[in-house]
Symmetry: C2
Subunit: 488 residues, 2 copies
């Protein structure tokens, strides 16, 4: 931070340098710390709490849809990776290897899992014999490893936490339905709970998961206009079934390969939530995901504190009883210091009450997202807090949606125009944003866009806002209307 | 199983071969599977579900007592282990090492964590500066590794799941209170929820955690009379604080080392629950931990099924609404097949209802633990189920307690008598059980007992049932009344 401008909170403004803002914001909010192990971070309690809330919501949705959790070994024998050719090519460069244990060299080296399709495939081949054993619907919460060269806390680290679903089905149709169902669940959780609008769509072959037939994703726009792939769902076809010999005897007495899917979301969601909603005063947590939804702070001179606490304590109990995640800050610090602290941490609502408020039978509620303050009668506080939390959640989503629309470019038709757009935005230090472009389906055209502009294809949205007629790179007929953007 | 006797359920009877019974029981209940990675198992959904219940109860107790979850990197640099001499000696032989990543050799090899005192110590030294930063009360749910030569599912595997608490305090007194508080929580959860009676006590120096000043444990007796260490809590003194330089500026303006604790329980608890309660018909889950508490099975001829379902469905809803973890088995299999299946899985209560029961406005409830059946009026089912679940939980605990008393030997005074006891029990194929013995405190006496009888010291109970006057090995004055047993 030595050379940059920081504001009175010790945070680099977003407009100054977005990456630096991000690091400042998560450090001030005490979410993580760096460690001496390359690319590995500590998820500190305030950061991990965000993950616990995401887990709880996701896990509920998985169980509602018939999935159960299991746990597979973290270490994967080298030979497993050889069984699916694209898979090994995709992951090999990123794998950390265990080569010895105690003082003995291992006969076969073992990878720290980057994902578990291979281990799961090996086990499913033992578990699945008949159509009666299908479908298998399993999820795993686990740590995974990808030895990254350039890392960014929560968004790209060498070890991260995630869930990975792995299912096996008798038919392609059923497996494809599962793939779509899970993508839909991701969209709903991310939009409704994290207040992040996403585009559902299909990845292009070059961005596909190594070993998948089709990869689908939800893609979110950060406040710097860059994209985060916030969740993926893969139809794996028979690829892993053939690699690991997962066959079953079907009703028609034929031996068939199963069709498998996998789908995952990770601690990236924490980073996304911060980059979509945060501002120059720190984090802004959407109420449904906020570990603390309301912080209560007594104000006014200490000698009148007793009078305030007579109202404060019963109010705290009422709010708690109403199911609001409320916290009282009674530390021996100034109100201003506390306001700052809870702003940094992104608590959606702050309640202030002082001696004069007691006289007037009222409290002050301050919104984190807009800074707006309202005065509320004491006996209407619970009701008002409940209403405000719903309102803040809705408005945060709407603001993110508005921002996304403002930074989405639907009318750029040629690579020349795209280059001009990028140059213009960079000159003005503005977000390049997302560009909806026609694409003929040739990888060379996709690469051309990437090489010239550093924009990569994000996904081919299921419901594009407009349909593009011409390939942005070669001008021939467009087969796919595709989002292009710079991505984390 | 080729050479052993198995019963009609395909399970080796406990009296025949307890270890084989255990493996048969967990496989029939579909809790786990072996994998091609040495000593690593898959926790299948029915096994993992038991862990999820343990996690949920433990996590609640930790949070109630002010602890928060975090996540530390799994990979630990080799140099970290050197900082606490006993720690490195204790864990080195069991460590798997990552030596390369991608295609590059690492400069320093990284261990898969066997436990996280070193990584936590390194981070706490950055986080703790002042008495205001204390106490630090953090827990982590994680996978850990100990490269075991001989493994047993859930009880001893190369990778397992656990929680590890790590706290730092300003004073020895406070750290010791924390150590005891967590041990007490472990005892309460294991006794009240898992229905396993335990002895709380202190480990002897030879059984102490590598790097601890004092180690305390809860010890449980399995149905073969062997012991399982079901949880440990360590007062680490200043050992790790000195190794990692965790100092703070105290109120008196002096730089001081913090006092740390750590405490852990693991997926061993799953194995213990099975070995304490299971019988020749399979698992017997205590109601409070059972993922399914009651299974409902319609009986009688298929053509009368509709009539049965008219009562069955609303009853299911009622039970569910009352918060009972109920499951309906409507599969197209015979009632006998289903009874067998749910017995194997240890569901505490089975409800049967057939056409005649409908006529008589009643159902049958069958207990898994005793086999007892009772007829219950339809409109009293919810109430009866609730009462029975409480009763079963209590009686299971009491039976485990009775078993423990019956297999505890309090009056063996000399090593000669001990040898005779062991010989006698082995001759009769009976459990050697636990022996409460006096011990002078010399390691040589402890080793002598171990060498001659394979009994090791379990712990020095806080409240010994009797106080032993003479050391069992040398006959001199006893300092510690100690439990000795064979252990998993
Ligand atoms: Zn083209
Ligand atoms: Zn002695």
């Amino acid at each position: 931070m030595a050379d940059g401008k920081v504001n009175e909170k010790g945070i680099t403004p977003q407009s100054e340098n977005f990456s630096r803002w991000y690091i400042d914001a998560i450090r001030k909010a005490d979410l993580m710390d760096y460690t001496p192990v390359r690319g590995c971070i500590v998820f500190k309690p305030d950061g991990f709490e965000l993950w616990e809330r995401i887990q709880s919501v996701m896990d509920g949705r998985f169980k509602e849809t018939g999935h159960r959790n299991a746990y597979f070994p973290m270490l994967i024998p080298e030979s497993f990776f050889q069984k699916e050719k694209e898979h090994v090519e995709g992951f090999n460069p990123e794998l950390p290897w265990v080569t010895e244990a105690g003082s003995e060299k291992l006969e076969e080296k073992l990878a720290l899992r980057p994902t578990s399709e291979t281990m799961v495939g090996r086990m499913y081949s033992q578990w699945i014999q008949s159509y009666r054993d299908l479908p298998v619907l399993i999820n795993q919460w686990a740590n995974v490893f990808r030895w990254e060269k350039r890392t960014l806390p929560f968004l790209r680290t060498s070890e991260f936490l995630w869930q990975e679903g792995h299912t096996a089905h008798a038919t392609e149709e059923e497996a494809r339905e599962e793939t779509m169902q899970m993508l839909q669940i991701y969209k709903e959780v991310v939009e409704q709970e994290l207040a992040i609008p996403v585009w559902m769509g299909q990845k292009t072959p070059s961005e596909r998961f190594a070993g998948a037939v089709d990869t689908y994703s939800i893609e979110a726009m950060m406040k710097d206009g860059k994209a985060v792939q916030a969740g993926t769902s893969h139809y794996l076809g028979e690829n892993f079934a053939r690699g690991f010999d997962i066959q079953f005897l079907d009703r028609d007495n034929q031996q068939k390969y199963v069709h498998t899917t996998s789908w995952g979301t990770s601690t990236r969601l924490i980073g996304s939530m911060i980059m979509v909603h945060g501002d120059d005063r720190g984090l802004v947590n959407p109420p449904r995901m906020a570990p603390t939804q309301l912080v209560m702070i007594p104000v006014g001179p200490g000698k009148l504190r007793e009078k305030v606490m007579e109202k404060f304590d019963p109010l705290f109990d009422q709010l708690k009883e109403a199911g609001i995640r409320v916290r009282a800050d009674l530390r021996d610090e100034s109100p201003g210091w506390k306001f700052n602290e809870w702003e940094l941490r992104g608590v959606p609502l702050r309640l202030e009450i002082g001696p004069r408020d007691v006289d007037n039978n009222q409290v002050i509620l301050a919104r984190r997202d807009t800074g707006e303050k309202v005065t509320v009668e004491l006996d209407r506080v619970v009701e008002q807090v409940e209403e405000l939390l719903v309102k803040i959640q809705e408005e945060m989503f709407q603001r993110a949606l508005d921002f996304r629309e403002k930074n989405s470019y639907l009318e750029i038709e040629t690579i020349g125009d795209l280059n001009a757009h990028v140059a213009q935005m960079e000159k003005e230090s503005k977000a390049v944003g997302w560009v909806l472009a026609g694409w003929c389906g040739e990888e060379s055209c996709e690469s051309k866009v990437k090489e010239e502009t550093k924009l990569t294809s994000r996904n081919i949205p299921f419901e594009a806002p407009v349909v593009k007629k011409r390939c942005i790179a070669c001008g021939s007929e467009s087969k796919f209307t595709t989002w292009f953007a710079r991505a984390y």
